[in-house]
Symmetry: C2
Subunit: 371 residues, 2 copies
């Protein structure tokens, strides 16, 4: 774990760069907006911890009414349980026996859910839960359009639900019906069509499972790009958005319908100009190891005439519009990452700024928890 | 820091995934090949520690004759000095006063070099070195074609060299003339033209500095794609390759001239098949947080008919050729990362395999050392 880039109470100028910085006013606005928009709907809000990997943020979400959080990895869940989070849904399939054993051990001190999309791991999960003396909640993942994991919607899910319901140490909870690809469809009409289709598949599958005599209380899914659609679907019972707390350049490219809530960018990579070799070019100290590049380059925030056009491992190249003056050595540049989740995973610390003052420095406790 | 994914002496099957794995036979072949090819040339080999961030690897390079290592960040250098590496060139400009002070403090216990491409930081570096009671070696960076940092070659470098030579606590060492963009030019003729031009610019600049009465003993640069060209240039005195220890999918796309030495892939992301939802699709547990994607997708190693075609945060989608049988849940897949440096930066541990046995588990001590 690296040295924190700032100390509580310091001024912005003292924050060492590159640093992962959260604008706390925007961040809290986002948390409040989501909590208020779900409260009263009858749905559970279970924000995704893979986006922030940070127990302090999970606690802020739970304090606003979230029932718990989601994770993707056993080691992520372990980090959150160690920090006192006691209700976690691992929205992923786990097949390695050592990981299943660790997951079952966590269920002794927290409510732990996990997914299956194949009969084979059910016996392993059951044996591990019995061995650990706990109970694992299990959902069947169905593929509602993401074409990643998940059995086909409909009849294929029924025998899995029955096998889970019959397995010692396991409790069948329902369906995981997450349409990841829908989050980044740019037009509201595309997202609506995708989630209407997903909702119909989930509803049909739930009906088949219940017709087979297995109660199916939960349908869980949704992300930052579509959560209002799942909320209003009359099918989903639980929402899993994660990125809404931070937002990123890629989510910024989604067109919004008039009735869609807009979240604010709260997550930045704070960088410093370290070289000004020509009037048209400035170099910042944040490159491929300071921001994720799978969804494009970071964007320069709130400065016209400066564009982040190229990255190497430790450098970012800014193109300077000749109409503005070139930045000076030492100038601070705020970058909006292309994709928040893998950017957060690069940092050991999140610096929370209230205006120009460091209010908190949160450990990214589950950074690098790939296992 | 996460739990290590393996223990020394374990079999391959016990390594938890995703894991960053080095094939030690290929790795040592690469280290030996480079060391032997530079030994006797009169040039110094100073491999780049930004590629591996791992003191154990730095020590293996120095044991084979390297004079020390390069780093890009002050916190990287600090991690290597703490592990006993005593000769480090920071191939980067440092402008923040707090970082300059930390760098100067390192020079009390190690030989530390750093770059400048602007007059402004020279006074800060000098004051910090005097304050710390040590000496900082300083090179002037010239832009020999990478168009990143660096002053223009020629006359612009002379006053910087003079100012460094005159500054208390600083020692002018020479020129940093690294052409990063040349490393990935695909054709040998393109790389030759780029390095011939870079060598000419470095030679001319060195002559101007020496004509002004300032000795310029060092010309340092070169990377894995071009090091033989700088070695044979009669201009460069020191070589900085880093990726050669590991290689990656992007370097694999370079065409080689008949006389160019070929390094072997030694670095892999070991992944596990966690879902087999359809005969044409298998999902592995290594996605955007397990490999860098700036230089393309990882490649499946040594298996025909399986292609890594898509990634999300924690998932990789493999397309299965119908002509082969689908992989089974739990199967291990070896992935060659698109770009080694930022991939290594995702992991806390490197697992060294000798055949089917874990021989070492090395901490990536400078992982996340962005500052």
């Amino acid at each position: 774990m690296q040295r924190p880039p700032a100390r509580i109470g310091e001024a912005l100028a003292a924050v060492e760069t590159p640093a992962l910085v959260v604008d706390l006013d925007a961040f809290e606005h986002n948390l409040d907006l989501m909590a208020n928009a779900v409260r009263g709907s009858g749905l559970a809000l279970r924000p995704h911890g893979k986006a922030h990997k940070c127990p302090d943020i999970a606690k802020a979400q739970i304090a606003r009414g979230a029932v718990g959080i989601c994770c993707q990895k056993v080691d992520e869940a372990a980090a959150f349980v160690a920090a006192g989070i006691d209700d976690i849904l691992l929205t992923n399939e786990i097949v390695a026996p050592a990981k299943i054993a660790r997951l079952a051990a966590l269920a002794r001190s927290a409510t732990i859910g996990v997914l299956v999309d194949d009969a084979q791991p059910i016996a392993d999960l059951s044996a591990a839960a019995v061995q650990a003396g706990g109970t694992l909640d299990v959902c069947v993942e169905i593929d509602v359009g993401a074409h990643r994991c998940g059995v086909a919607p409909g009849a294929a899910a029924v025998p899995l639900a029955q096998a889970i319901a019959a397995a010692p140490g396991l409790r069948f909870r329902g369906l995981h019906a997450y349409h990841g690809a829908a989050q980044h469809l740019r037009q509201p009409s595309q997202r609506l069509a995708a989630i209407e289709a997903a909702s119909a598949m989930a509803a049909q599958t739930k009906a088949l499972i219940e017709a087979a005599g297995v109660p199916c209380p939960v349908v869980t899914g949704a992300g930052t790009g579509t959560w209002q659609l799942e909320r209003d679907s009359h099918v989903y019972t639980e929402l899993q958005p994660g990125s809404y707390a931070f937002m990123d350049a890629d989510y910024g490219r989604n067109a919004l319908a008039p009735d869609e809530h807009a979240f604010e960018h709260s997550l930045y990579v704070l960088a410093t100009v370290m070289s000004t070799p020509t009037p048209e070019r400035a170099i910042v100290d944040a490159g491929l190891k300071a921001s994720a590049f799978d969804s494009g380059l970071p964007q320069v925030h709130a400065v016209r005439g400066l564009d982040y056009v190229k990255a190497s491992d430790e450098h970012g190249v800014l193109q300077v519009d000749p109409a503005r003056g070139a930045p000076a050595l030492g100038d601070r540049i705020w970058l909006i990452p292309g994709h928040c989740d893998p950017t957060v995973n690069l940092y050991d610390w999140i610096v929370g700024m209230r205006g120009e003052r460091v209010e908190c420095v949160w450990p990214v406790a589950a950074r690098g928890a790939v296992g």
